[in-house]
Symmetry: C2
Subunit: 279 residues, 2 copies
């Protein structure tokens, strides 16, 4: 039976009892609209923790675009059923006023790693992520937190933040879960039309081919230019970025040398998709 | 016997053992150069906690003025002796590279309450305070933290930050400790010349008289103008601010209505003194 908790005071009471018994709490922060990608995080949390809290909060502070916030899919009843089936102990689903009450005035920001890629195209996004994640870590007092590699840059920002603020929590990154045709699972996929859904897997297919070329010695710039042309030809538009960067610091990589990460953001219709793979 | 700890890793091990036994840890964050004001915080921490950690770290991030940072008094041997005498369990005294290692990139900032008064005259000061305090709370995992009312605005900023980031710690404010002549104890007082030390108590004496006038019905602005003239006549210069504000939100107060706080910053020679009292 998954207990639903709505306030940080109730959550504190719940967690305090666990902490007194030396129980290790794992947290999976989400924005709801759960899919198998989230469930893989939940299963990992179950393996590595005594109790699992899943948080669902569509965080206005991390949306730079009001329409994206409005359109973000929400279905708590469906989410709850999925969490029940996985034996999650607590669903923490606070309202906006619970997370950001009147007078709220604090911001956590991470420079450097948060600035390129998503940071360049979504001003303020990572301030919102860093702030809400700090809050969720404080509220849950979890010892472990599970994040998907799907949001690769977010994972690096969260690791940086936890190390910098000495938050007593271990961050576990989990591999991206994909549909059989290669499309990375994302809550935004439900907003794709049938035709767009059929086009979407091209993104991962083209990136995989480009990564192979780069590993085989092709110049990064040439491989990426070709990949961009193919992505546009496959029906995407407005490729915000398609880059190869260093795995952890996300430093620009002009010639391939160390293990890298290829990251992309592009639109299909009015849906913004992101993905990333190893190079 | 006070144990000296220099690294956050060693501190985490020390604290982890306490936490497993359900021991309540109190922390007193300081910048060293300890005096009886700090000792009153330590004594309160001893009363309200099972174990007491005092931190000593002259935080470069909160100094907007390099010369003020250089001149800040440091005497660890003397500080340690005072802490031993009070039965403090741990002195946590990390180096700058331990607190801000290479790659450090995170900032905690509090808007609103941090902006007037000290915030207006010391740009970046409260970002530095908020960031280092967040780190010290993470490192010590203390359940209670003790701060002096001497730094009234800082106390409000820390309370705001802890509430906003849901940090599981209780903030205890402790009254300002004064010399017999009324001068608020401060690590910077040792930098006053003999003549300046004799002039310094005028600040508190003049503020106290002004507060009495205001409580008796004098217009705030008139009382403060007169007090400023008296402070300058007493040998101070560059009064950065002398204001009456609301106790908690530090909102400007033009006519006296609710419990207020009178706050001042002024120079005596090259020493910047601050103080505050109830109105």
């Amino acid at each position: 039976m998954t207990q639903i908790i709505r306030t940080s005071a109730d959550l504190r009471d719940r967690v305090a009892a666990w902490k007194r018994s030396g129980i290790l709490v794992g947290v999976v922060p989400t924005m709801g609209a759960l899919h198998d990608g989230h469930m893989s995080l939940v299963r990992e949390a179950r393996k590595q923790s005594d109790r699992v809290i899943v948080t669902i909060f569509v965080n206005p502070m991390q949306f730079n675009n009001a329409s994206d916030l409005d359109k973000y899919p929400r279905d708590e009843a469906h989410d709850l059923a999925m969490l029940e089936a996985e034996g999650v102990d607590v669903l923490f689903a606070p309202g906006v006023n619970e997370v950001y009450p009147d007078g709220f005035a604090t911001k956590v920001s991470v420079s450097g790693i948060s600035e390129p890629l998503e940071g360049a195209f979504r001003p303020g996004h990572f301030d919102g992520v860093a702030t809400v994640v700090s809050k969720l870590f404080g509220m849950t007092q979890a010892g472990r937190a599970f994040f998907g590699e799907k949001d690769w840059q977010q994972l690096q920002v969260v690791r940086r933040l936890v190390e910098d603020l000495n938050i007593p929590i271990r961050i576990i990154g989990c591999p991206t879960i994909r549909e059989p045709d290669g499309l990375a699972m994302s809550s935004r996929n439900v907003r794709l039309s049938e035709a767009e859904r059929a086009q979407a897997p091209a993104l991962h297919r083209i990136m995989t081919a480009a990564a192979e070329q780069i590993r085989a010695g092709a110049p990064i710039e040439t491989a990426l230019e070709q990949a961009k042309a193919e992505i546009l030809a496959a029906g995407f538009h407005d490729i915000e970025y398609l880059e190869v960067r260093s795995v952890e610091g996300l430093r620009p990589m002009e010639t391939f040398s160390e293990p890298g990460r290829m990251l992309v953001a592009a639109y299909l219709g009015d849906v913004r998709l992101i993905d990333n793979i190893a190079v």
